[in-house]
């Protein structure tokens, strides 16, 4: 049992971007190899966009946050200390930018309804648009973040709990509620 747990700690996580790959790429960016930023981008853009979308709740802002997040990643790479959680570092950068966007929006007193969350003009399948709209409309903010982190980033529930600083149990119950809501919404249509 003990042995097993040890393996669990050191074993690599597959989903999309193993930590050491990301650590290596961030180090290369810090060393001035800007092409590595492109690799980080390809590996993590869905996670960053999905997480940003869960906070800002519209495509256009999420797209901007994603762009800015990678610029920030490049400029902050020098100060990054390799850890076992490079993904959390990246997501935190995205989170801060997303929160900044919300604050700006409040300052401008923008009505969220004025902005089409997922514009009809967005060039993706109607089915995908529906999924994103349901995520934005049906889920609470917490639920949305949790679903994105689990479904897109591939975070385990306990990783989500750690990242969002929430009790695991809360994450689990919110997650299950969210999945139920989404399932209901997606099957009723």
């Amino acid at each position: 049992m003990l042995l097993f747990t040890l393996t669990a700690v050191t074993a690599q996580r597959i989903p999309d971007a193993p930590s050491d790959v990301l650590n290596g790429l961030i180090a290369e960016v810090a060393a001035g190899n800007i092409d590595s930023l492109g690799e980080i981008y390809s590996l993590t853009r869905s996670s960053v966009y999905g997480y940003a979308l869960s906070i800002v709740k519209n495509h256009s802002d999420a797209e901007d946050v994603t762009h800015d997040a990678y610029v920030a990643i490049a400029t902050s790479a020098l100060s990054y200390t390799p850890s076992d959680k490079p993904m959390a570092w990246i997501l935190t950068i995205a989170k801060n930018l997303a929160l900044m966007t919300l604050r700006k929006r409040r300052e401008r007193e923008l009505d969220e309804a004025e902005v089409a969350a997922i514009p009809d003009t967005l060039d993706i399948l109607p089915a995908d648009k529906m999924v994103l709209r349901e995520c934005i409309e049906r889920l609470s903010d917490d639920e949305r973040e949790i679903v994105m982190l689990h479904a897109v980033t591939g975070y385990k529930h306990r990783e989500i709990a750690e990242f969002l600083d929430m009790p695991l149990a809360t994450v689990l119950s919110k997650y299950s509620r969210a999945i139920k809501k989404l399932r209901a919404a997606l099957t009723e249509e």
Partner: protein
């Protein structure tokens, strides 16, 4: 209570994941571009060796911090993204217009002059924040020297977005720039004005610069719009703030007023003191003014006679005690006197006083003429159309002497005071008809070092590497090219057009060009002329072929579909060699002159059907460092943390990904699809991906899964968890069970509630062992 089944949940997750992946932006290039733009500013700050170096760096850090915060400026209403909300124009000498939307995202960056185009270069700012863009552009202007200690003014004009919005944006950009360097920043809001916009269009300047010039001409009607157009913003700022226009804004606050921060630098100029000194010296020598008691009234900078000048006004007495007021325009860069007048100070309106010119230092016209003829190397008896008049040129009195001789027009300016040649020019006289002996005057005109046409021709032929007997359509004429007299020699030889310009004076090749003669039809023997044209190092097709084969690492007997043609690639004549071998298409370009490989490419041949032994040719083609498929497979499995015995649906094919040859390895294992790309040359994992296998059905999967990694059913796992928690199956609610992959092993992630507690379990799906258990009070 309805229970979410594993498959339904997976479907929801998979659908969310797919939707996000499809909607997520995929434009790493624009990010990289922005980062590079930011870095160019950084590099600047790190290499610039001025005392402000530290300040620069701090500023860039601050600007980047702004970027990190997602752009700091906020205001106004929210419109659609692609609509231009405002245009922010930057003028230094480069004039650039940045169109932004309401979120200060850049829609377009437009260069209004050549300098601006050079500054922008290949930077693409679309989608970037305004801050990043301003930062990069201003940084580039500093790097290129448009902004420096001696010219530090920049004009920021904001057009559109409403007065309040515009004034906040002005302030924001001004602060941003002000933080970057110690300069003079003028800002203004552009208000509609058809006349000025038309002028801006006409002269290719920004609306902002047009308004700045208009302000100066309004204050000082002596200036015309047209004469000020060519001035840099720093010069305009100097005229505006220190010049006769000198209109310092005092308290008025119309939105279109120009707000100025910082002092424009006059560091490029000699300074008012030096200008005054020069003016006094001139007044003393020309008017006999007594300068000891001279009194300077004012010395502003202004633009006169096409140059920046100090406009000096001062009083001085003449030797006989008359009190004069002098006005001098002194070239602010050179200190030259470019204009002057004086009048009796006490009788101000008595008209311009013409004091006697101090004599003794002037040369007669005859002497000036002799100087010109001697310089031209011609005899007085040979010249005609001689004219001479006295004029002032940049404040210096000169004889303007023009004459013609033997097909040339000469034009001299000789200082009256010193007899020195101020300017000399010699041009071909277009009206001249030579009296047969064209060469005689040339020899006369040119100094002894000049070369004959025959010599120039020989030089050209030698340079081209061709024999005189091989050339045809030879022409030679004399012309002036950038002030240098040249022989323009054109000829053709063996399919090429040659075009030379050889300086008459030195015999040097000023320009040489060789192009394919489109009209050329080879006389069957295509190769012969080529050999003639090309130097001895040219390689044959056979040699080029051998080079390509050696590089590809394939044997001639193994290749097929071989083609070779000669072509020009970026001005270099090459053999274009294509062939196929063992499933690959090879494509080479080999320079004919050097035999060097200019381009090589190897692609998978889509039409290729391997004759069973696919691997043999691969081994031949790939260098020794390449990894085998088996090694690549092992790397993928190890990375995925799965055993070979557990996987199914394994496929492996070789492909090129971004120019890198890779193994594309796909396989499935325990509900997931794995997708790897492993570089053949290095064995490195280029790409790895793991996705939920939508087709995966847990029950059917036992067929594939020999190890029985999910030999524990979900029900069994549930009972293991319930037993461990010591709760009754009837008392639990919110039960969730998810089959997931943890460190290469399938586990059930189980959660449920019972009583006041929430439970979480991870149970090994193969062994039924509890990997993790957790109980918390349910909030």
């Amino acid at each position: 209570m309805k229970k979410t089944t594993k498959n339904e949940e997976m479907t929801v997750n998979a659908r969310v994941r797919t939707a996000v992946e499809n909607a997520a932006p995929n434009d790493a290039a624009s990010v990289i571009n922005d980062v590079k733009a930011g870095q160019s500013v950084m590099v600047e700050t790190q290499t610039k060796k001025t005392k402000r170096r530290g300040a620069w760096r701090a500023v860039v850090a601050a600007a980047l911090a702004l970027v990190l915060m997602g752009g700091a400026f906020a205001g106004g209403m929210y419109f659609s993204d692609a609509r231009v909300a405002s245009i922010v124009a930057l003028d230094v000498n480069p004039s650039i217009e940045i169109s932004v939307n309401k979120k200060e995202r850049v829609l377009d960056v437009r260069a209004l002059n050549d300098d601006a185009a050079a500054i922008i270069g290949d930077m693409d700012f679309k989608g970037s924040t305004l801050d990043v863009t301003v930062n990069a552009l201003v940084g580039a202007m500093v790097r290129e020297g448009y902004l420096s200690d001696i010219a530090n003014s920049i004009l920021v004009s904001v057009d559109g977005g409403g007065d309040e919005y515009a004034s906040r944006l002005r302030e924001h950009v001004s602060n941003l720039i002000g933080a970057m360097f110690d300069g003079a920043v003028m800002t203004q809001t552009v208000t509609p004005d058809k006349e000025l916009d038309a002028l801006a269009d006409k002269y290719g300047i920004t609306k902002g610069k047009a308004r700045l010039i208009a302000e100066i001409t309004t204050q000082n009607p002596r200036h015309t719009f047209e004469e000020l157009v060519a001035l840099s913003i720093n010069e305009l700022n100097l005229i505006r703030t220190t010049g006769a226009a000198g209109a310092e804004n005092s308290g008025s606050s119309r939105p279109d007023d120009i707000v100025s921060q910082g002092t424009p630098s006059a560091g490029a100029y000699i300074g008012a003191d030096k200008a005054y000194e020069n003016a006094l010296a001139h007044a003393a020598s020309n008017y006999g003014a007594v300068t000891d008691a001279a009194a300077l009234i004012k010395a502003p900078l202004d633009y006169e006679h096409g140059v920046m000048v100090y406009e000096l006004e001062f009083y001085a007495y003449s030797a006989d005690g008359e009190h004069f007021e002098f006005e001098y325009d002194v070239n602010a860069k050179t200190g030259e006197i470019v204009g002057f007048e004086c009048e009796l100070a006490d009788k101000g309106d008595s008209g311009i006083y013409q004091p006697p010119v101090v004599s003794g230092s002037s040369v007669p016209e005859s002497e000036a003429k002799a100087t010109a003829l001697s310089h031209a190397g011609v005899k007085e008896s040979d010249i005609y159309a001689y004219t001479c008049k006295r004029d002032f040129e940049n404040g210096v009195e000169v004889y303007e002497i023009d004459f013609k001789c033997a097909g040339y027009e000469y034009d001299y300016e000789i200082a009256v005071a010193t007899g020195a040649i101020v300017k000399s020019n010699k041009e071909v006289d277009d009206d001249y008809r030579a009296p047969e002996t064209t060469k005689a005057p040339e020899t006369t005109a040119a100094p002894s070092t000049s070369v004959t046409e025959a010599e120039a021709k020989a030089t050209a032929l030698k340079h081209a590497g061709v024999n005189e007997s091989d050339i045809y359509t030879y022409t030679c004429k004399r012309d002036f090219e950038n002030g240098v007299e040249v022989y323009e020699i054109d000829f053709k030889c063996a399919g090429y057009e040659y075009d030379y310009e050889i300086a008459v004076a030195t015999g040097k090749i000023v320009k040489s060009n060789k192009e394919v003669d489109d009209d050329y039809r080879a006389l069957e023997t295509t190769k012969a002329p080529e050999t003639t044209a090309a130097p001895s190092t040219a390689v044959t097709e056979a040699e080029a072929k051998a080079t390509a084969l050696a590089h590809a690492g394939v044997k001639e007997s193994a290749i097929y579909a071989y083609t070779c043609k000669r072509d020009f690639e970026n001005g270099v004549e090459v053999y274009e060699i294509d062939f196929k071998c063992a499933g690959y298409e090879y494509d080479y370009e080999i320079a004919i002159a050097t035999g060097k490989i200019v381009k090589s490419n190897k692609e998978v041949d889509d039409d290729y059907r391997a004759p069973e032994t696919t691997k043999a040719p691969e081994t031949t083609a790939a260098p020794s460092t390449s990894v085998t498929e088996a090694e690549a497979k092992a790397a993928a499995l190890s990375h995925a943390g799965v055993k070979e015995s557990d996987i199914y649906a394994y496929t492996c094919k070789r492909d090129f990904e971004n120019g890198v040859e890779v193994y594309e390895i796909d396989f499935k294992c325990a509900g997931y699809e794995y997708d790897y790309e492993i570089a053949i040359a290095t064995g490195k994992i280029v790409k790895s991906n793991k996705e939920v296998d939508d087709d995966y059905h847990h029950d059917e999967h036992d067929d594939h899964n020999t190890s029985g990694s999910a030999s524990v059913t979900a029900e069994q796992a549930k009972s293991i968890a319930l037993t461990h928690a010591n709760v009754d199956a009837g008392s639990i609610y919110d039960y969730e069970c998810e089959l997931d992959r943890e460190h290469g092993t399938d586990v059930y992630e189980i959660s449920f509630k019972s009583g006041r507690y929430e439970y979480e379990y991870e149970i090994n799906a193969s062994t039924g062992a509890i990997i993790k258990s957790d109980r918390e009070i349910d909030d």
